[in-house]
Structures are given as C-alpha cells and as structure tokens.
C-alpha cells in the first residue's frame, strides 16, 4: 500500500485552489480548513494502516488487486475531501463506494457477497439521495461549484442529503449494512472503512449543515441529536451481543457515529438558535471524536486482523488467553479499548466530555424542546458509555484473558514487529491526544472557525464557558494524567517499601474441580446475557436449547444452545420491506410480463385505446 506516500505527496502537491478543465466537467479542487483537516486525517490514518499492511498484507500477495483497490480507495477519499464542485464530489464519492465494495467482496464467498450487496445497495441509495440533494441545490443556484452553494440549502435539500450521508455513516435506521460489510473485508480494509470512510459521510454532513445550509431549521438539529443518541445506545447494545470480534467493532462504529451525530445535531441546533459557545464546543466534540474514533477504531480493527491472522478465527468464544501469547498486542489493544470506551485519561473521554458539556449547555438554554431532548440524550449517552465499557470489557476479557478456549487460541504467536508498529502509532496518538490535547484543539480551531465562525479556547487551564460569561467547568487531562501517574508512583513505591514482594504461581481456584477445563470459564454470551435480559426489548433474539432426546432426563451428555440475535430494525423494517417488494414485483411480473402473446397484444391495443380516450375526452 503505497497509498500513503502518494497521499503525503498530494498534500504538498496541490495548491490552494485547483481547477482541472475538461471539456465538460470542470474538476475543481479547493483546500479549506475542513478539507485540510480531513485530508490530514485520512492520510495519516491510512499511513498507519499501510505500515501495518506491509506485513499483514503478505497474506494477500497472491491477489495484488487488494493493494490497487485500496490505493484507489484512499485516493478517492482524499480527492473527495478536497473536491469543490458537485460532480467531482459525486464522482469520487461513488468511486470510494465502488472500491470499498470491491474490497468488501474481496475475500469471496457467499457471506461476503451478501454483505457486499447489502453494503453497495445501501450506499447506492445514499448516493442517490445525495445526488437528489445536489440536484436541488443546483436548481437553486444553477451552478455546480460549491462556492455558490453557501447558504443555499433549504430544509428539503438538507433532509435528502443528510439521509443519504447517514446511510454511509451507519446511523441507526440505516445501519444494516455496516455490521455485515465491515467484518467481511480484510482487516486493514475494515480499519480504513471504519476509521476513515464512515467519516467521509460526516464530512458531507458538515459541509451541508454548516456551509451550504441556510440555517433556519433548528428541529433538524434535534432530529440528528435523537438519531445519534438512538444509534449510540442501540449500536453499543448490539455490539455487546456479538461473538465476532469484528462485528462487535462494527457495531461500536455505529455507536461512535451516533455520538458524532449527537454533536453535529447540537451544534447545528445551537447555530440555528444562535447559542454560539455551545455550537463551538459541540463542533469541537465532533471533530475530536472523529479523530479519536478514527485512531482507536483503526487500531482495534488492525488488532482484530492480527488475531484473525494468527488464530484463524474471529469468534471470541473460541479465543481466550491471547494476552500470554501476544503480550504487546494485548497492551496496545487494551489502550485502544480504553480509548474507545471513553476511559478518563485517554482521548475518547475528552470528546465525550465536550459532548456532555454541550449537552448540559443546551439544557441551560432553557429552550422548550431542546431541554428535554438533551436530557434524553444525556441519559442515552451515559447508558451507552457504560454499555461501551461492558462491551469492550467483554471483548478484551474473553479474547485476551483467561485460558485459551480452543486450539486456535493456543497456537497464537506474537505478531510481526511491523504489524505492531502499525498499531502502536495510533495507540500512541490516542494517549498523546488524551493527555495533551491542547495542541490539537488549537489546530482544530481553524476548522471550527471555518464551520461556525468562532473558536474555542485551547488554553489548558482556562475553564469552559458554556452560555454565560461564568466559567462552567474544566477538564484538564494533563493534570489528571499527572495526578494519576503521581499517585500511582506513590502507591507503588509505598507498597514496594512496606509490603511483601513474595509471589507464588498456582492454578486458578475452581472449587476443586478440573482446573484444566477451559470450558468452565465464563463465555462471551454469558457475559452479556444479563444486560441483554434487562434491555431485551432492543433485541429480538431467539434462543433455544436442544438436548439429546434419548438420554435420561437429568443426565444429558450433550446439550446445544443456539442463540440468534436479530436487529430490530432489520426484523421489523428491512425484511418486511424486502418481502413486500418481492411480493409486489411478483404480482407485477405476472401481470406485465406475460409470456402469452395474446395478452401482450391486448396490452398494446389497450394502451392505444387508452391514449385515444385521453386524446378525445381529456385533451379537447
């Protein structure tokens, strides 16, 4: 994957504004703060992933199309970020979709075909909606260039385009493709898709809401907030129920997209209602969360790819005890998990904290609707925050800790150093941003200024002002981190001095039963079942226990437990819709495509007569 090098080149290669003249389409590119942010974001994360892929990709050396596709994939995302007219945008948007689709079906097989089809279908629907939005914009401004779109988009345009983008982002009612498509792709591609590609949808939304929008529809912000909160909660709830590591991570992507959407919603609402500082903070939360999620999710996907590579399974019920075999990977993974489940000194908490602050701020505004919606959002966000902790504890605990459950896990070895470096860089950046975010916030200020016209204070020790001049609160991550480290050191040395250091290695106590049996460990399904039971209305799960029939009632040699977790949206919206479509088209097909020539001729004459009747009786 030489994508990275090209991307770096491209950053320096382009001037501020660039128009490539062709006879029909003018490809115009423009660097503004937002696109620069996204270009840097995309290119840096894809650099990490390409470092990772140097070794990881050896698996795919036989079919090098992977690297060609992923190069074009990354390139089209970068060009998408800098494109400055509608046709360019759409072309590269769709190129991005096409190449990611090719990558999704890359490994072949029935599963990836289904996932790929669903993905491409959904993304095509999204593209069509975006196209509709752009067409309406074009009709309004009669220009293809983004320069003329400022403040032109009305509510209809925004609704169409944002729905389209939300499909790509995997926001809740439109998320069905995501948990299928992300896991089946090769891990480095999942990392790109989850870490970067979904954020391109956010790019589009930011562009539409904050640049093109005519800004008079605060309820749109509330809708985004609610949708975001819903997907944050449901995303992580479904994540908790998964067995497949990559599927869990994919659902977690939905959760994080939901969090980003919440931020966008608040920010847009505040913009429409003219609450400046809330707008800025929510935007900061959005941008920070994009970075944080990109970093941690890409590192986690890379890690899961390594697990897959070295154990040949992604099912966490078959893993366990990997931490002993892959010590360094497990440390990196742990930090990634801490970051994504918003544990305090790391970066995930930072963006979530800013989101909380802006939510509290919007409660302060006393706006009739927003107050209640933000209270709900706070509730859902906090619930999803805790659930994220649970889900990722499950992921890490079941996969890396305990005893190996199967042979797959026993034979794992420490991954290659280059692969580990590829993961280590984003993980290191997670820590860096978590502990010392001020540099990045002051850089993000340019983007915030571009989008909202204001900036936030990036001074480490000045408190956040939400709506009044009074300082509201402060989270000084550096201070917290220093305190943590200092207290840790004190405790450590205190115990070093005043306690015994004797250690004995022994079997785990298992009530005197067979200690070697790794099946006695808690399973992943068991881990989440109690939470799932409480929130059972979110899942439409089907579980059954099959016993062997011939054996006596109380001494069964074997029992099989199967559980199937269905997505409620999938079950109650998508599958019925599909059935309806098939039914309607069956009727249509029978009626319209009769093999009988008499019927066909009948249609011919009927339509002639109908036209005649229209001609005679209506037109005159």
């Amino acid at each position: 994957m030489s994508a990275a090098f090209f991307t770096v080149l491209s950053i320096y290669g382009f001037k501020n504004e660039l128009i490539i003249q062709s006879s029909f389409i003018n490809f115009s590119f423009k660097f503004d703060a937002l696109s620069l942010f996204f270009v840097i974001f995309i290119s840096s994360i894809s650099i990490f992933i390409s470092i990772f892929s140097i070794k990881y990709g050896e698996k795919y050396d036989k079919k090098p199309s992977l690297f060609i596709y992923s190069f074009f994939f990354v390139m089209s995302m970068i060009i998408l970020a800098i494109s400055n007219d509608m046709l360019t945008f759409l072309i590269f948007w769709e190129l991005m979709s096409i190449f990611s689709f090719l990558l999704v079906i890359y490994e072949g097989g029935e599963e990836s075909r289904k996932a790929g089809f669903l993905y491409f279908l959904m993304t095509h629907i999204g593209t069509i909606l975006i196209t509709a939005g752009f067409i309406m914009l074009y009709l309004k401004t009669s220009s293809f260039s983004f320069d003329y779109y400022k403040g032109a988009a009305g509510i209809m345009i925004l609704a169409a385009a944002i729905t389209g983008f939300s499909i790509k982002a995997g926001i809740m009612p439109f998320h069905t493709w995501l948990p299928y498509a992300h896991p089946v792709a090769p891990a480095n591609i999942s990392a790109i898709m989850s870490g970067i590609m979904v954020n391109m949808a956010i790019y589009g939304i930011l562009k539409f809401l904050f640049v093109f929008s005519s800004g008079s529809a605060p309820f749109l912000g509330i809708i985004l907030l609610v949708l975001g909160a819903l997907s944050a909660l449901l995303g992580i709830m479904y994540a908790m129920a998964q067995k497949d590591i990559k599927k869990l991570l994919a659902f977690s992507t939905i959760e994080n997209m939901g969090i980003i959407f919440m931020g966008i919603g608040i920010s847009y609402w505040a913009k429409a209602e003219n609450f400046k500082s809330i707008e800025y903070f929510a935007m900061l939360a959005v941008l920070l969360h994009i970075i944080n999620h990109g970093l941690s999710k890409s590192s986690l996907f890379m890690g899961s790819g390594l697990i897959d590579k070295y154990t040949h399974t992604r099912n966490m019920e078959k893993l366990g005890g990997l931490s002993k075999k892959m010590r360094q990977l497990s440390i990196l993974f742990l930090i990634g998990i801490m970051s994504i489940s918003a544990m305090p000194p790391l970066n995930g908490f930072l963006s979530e904290w800013y989101l909380y602050i802006s939510l509290i701020g919007s409660v302060f505004t006393g706006n009739l609707y927003m107050v209640y919606f933000s209270i709900i959002a706070i509730a859902l966000l906090s619930l999803s925050g805790a659930a994220a902790g649970a889900a990722f504890t499950k992921l890490f605990g079941i996969t890396f800790l305990g005893k190996p459950r199967t042979v797959h896990a026993e034979n794992a070895i420490e991954p290659n150093i280059i692969e580990r470096i590829g993961i280590a860089i984003p993980v290191f950046l997670c820590i860096y941003i978590g502990i010392y975010p001020y540099q990045i916030i002051s850089n993000l200020n340019a983007v915030i200024f571009y989008l909202t016209g204001g900036t936030v204070n990036s001074n480490p020790f000045s408190a956040v002002h939400i709506i009044s001049a009074r300082p509201f609160s402060l989270y000084a991550p550096a201070l917290i981190a220093i305190a943590l480290a200092a207290v840790l050191l004190i405790v450590f040395f205190y115990l070093k001095l005043f306690s015994s250091d004797k250690k004995r290695i022994f079997e785990t106590w298992a009530c005197g039963l067979d200690e070697k049996n790794s099946k006695a460990q808690y399973s992943g399904g068991g881990f989440s079942s109690s939470i799932m039971k409480v929130f059972s209305s979110f899942y439409s799960s089907v579980s059954e226990i099959n016993f062997e029939k011939d054996v006596k009632k109380y001494f069964r040699s074997k029992s099989v437990y199967t559980e199937e977790i269905n997505d409620i949206f999938e079950k109650y919206i998508y599958i019925p819709a599909e059935k309806l479509y098939l039914k309607v088209s069956e009727i249509f097909n029978k009626a319209a495509n009769s093999q009988n020539i008499n019927v066909s001729l009948g249609y011919l004459f009927l339509s002639l007569i109908v036209c005649f009747i229209i001609y005679i009786f209506i037109i005159r």
Binding site: S382, G397, L401, S500, K502, S518, G526, S529, K533, V534
Partner: protein, 326 residues
Amino acid sequence: MTYNYNIQHLIIGIIQFFTIILLAPFFAGFIHKLKQRARGQKGINIFQFYINFNKLLKKEIVLSKDATFISEIAPYIVFVSYLVILLMLPAFYRYSLLGVSSDVILIAYSLALATFFMTLYAMDQGSAFGGLGASREWFLTVLSEPSLIFIFISLAIYTKQGRITDIFYFIQKGAADAFLLGVNSDAVSIAIPFLLFISLFIVGISENARIPVDNPETHLELTMFHEANILEASGKHLGLFEYGSYLKLTVFLTVMSLILFPYMAVNIYQIPLSLIVYILKMIILCILIAGVEIVSPKMRVFRVPNLLSVSFMLSLIAMILSIRGF
C-alpha cells in the same frame, strides 16, 4: 469561580486528601460493626479493617498461572482511580487538591475506569467466578451509570457549575445566604438535593455492593457481585482492592453528605469545625446505610433494575426541577 492556588490551599488539600483516605476503613468498619451489633453479635473491632489491610500487605501473593499483566496492574489502577477521585473531592474544605479539574462527569467516568479494570482483573485468571462477577458488575454499572451521571449533571445544572468543588460551595453559599442572612436566593431548593440524595443513596448502595443488591460478606456464588471479581486476589492485591472499596464507599458517602448538608471550611479557621461536622455527617450516613442493610433482604439480581430505575427517575425529576429553577 477562579482557582488561585496558593501554598495554603495545597497543604490543606493534601491534609484533606489524607484525612479521607485514613478515615475510609473506619467508616467501612463502623458500618460493619453496627450491622453486627444489630444482629446481636459482638462484632469486630472498629479499626479491624486497618489491621486487615496491614496484614494483607505482609502476605505473599498467589497468582494464577493463567494470569497476565492485567493481574499485576489492575489492583493499582483501581486503587489509584479512587484516589484520584478523592483528590478532586472536597470533604470539609472548600478547595480540593485537584479541584480545578474536578468535573463531575470526569468523576463518574473515573469510577467506570475502576470498574473496567476490576472486571478485567476478574476475567484474567480464567475462573468461572471471575467472569460471573465481571458480568454482574457491568450489569450493575450499566444500570447505575445513567443515574449517577444524571445526579451529577443535575447538580451541575442546579448550580450552573460543572466542578464538584464549585457545586458544593455554591449550594453552601446559597444556603448560608438564605438561612443566615435571609437573602432570597433562587439557587436554594430543598427538594432537589433531597431527591438527588435519595437517588445517590440507591446508586451508592448498588455501586458499593451493599445489601439489597449485594452482600459483601458472603462468598456464595449465587449472591456474589463485588466479591466474585476479586476472588482470585491475594496479598497486597487483595489489600488494594479492599481498601479501594472502602475508598469508593467514602467517595459516595462524602458526596451524599455534601448534598445533604454542605458545610465546608472557607478559610483555615473553620477547618476544625467543618472536620467535626464532616465526620458527624459521615457517621450518620453510616448509620443510615447500616440501617438499610439490616432491615432489607437481598434482592434477586433481576429485581435490581427496578430499584435502580427508581433512582434514575428521581434524578430525572431532580434534573427537570433544576431546569425550572432557572
């Protein structure tokens, strides 16, 4: 409110920090003692938990052979995350050492951090009990976390302050203005803190593995919550976990005490009085908790959500009330 750190604040902050740390096992022991006395037992020494801790430090560590680095670091991180919360928390002095960054959400998430590592520790040895404990612990946390954050955010909205030191100072000042000087301040309400107190009490009971939810004294696999997590711990690791749980209890008790009756020293001369008030409040709360533990039986696991939903509703009502307050 601005934070101008001077040496006096720092010193008092450090003193406050260590005072709470030192008092923590005492409160836990006191509750224990009360419960035992109420059952007609002679009961342990009130300072028994100090002795326990000291003894645990002297003991050797028995590590499972399946244990990984998590087992080595988790006890420290759990302990330290409680300590950091205590660093932010004011108890009897208006400022705390880390008061400048004592955001309420940070506190709630730091608690989650401790839970996170404790459950990881539980799952580390591959014991069936560990997984069970971790699962149940997260089950409780997922349910109580919204309430906890709601309580904190209600406080923040109620006082328009985001930092816990500011929040309680604000309440204290408002109350003092209202009751002592007769200034009518709209920031004073009795209902809201009361609701929040009850809500926090419920959350505190569930988070600290107290009786209607969990029984900290049994080692029966059906009833274990907290204990299952640290079943494999021994030696100083167990000591750290045990001490951590006292600290957590103290954190909750302190916040409860401050919600109920915020009295913190504003200057150095009020410290003795406020310290006494603080200890008195804590003892009253300990009695309260012990009373609840004595009179109520342990709940079935899946009835806990009902209890916690009550807490959630109370905090929700409190939040809505506090919006109306403006």
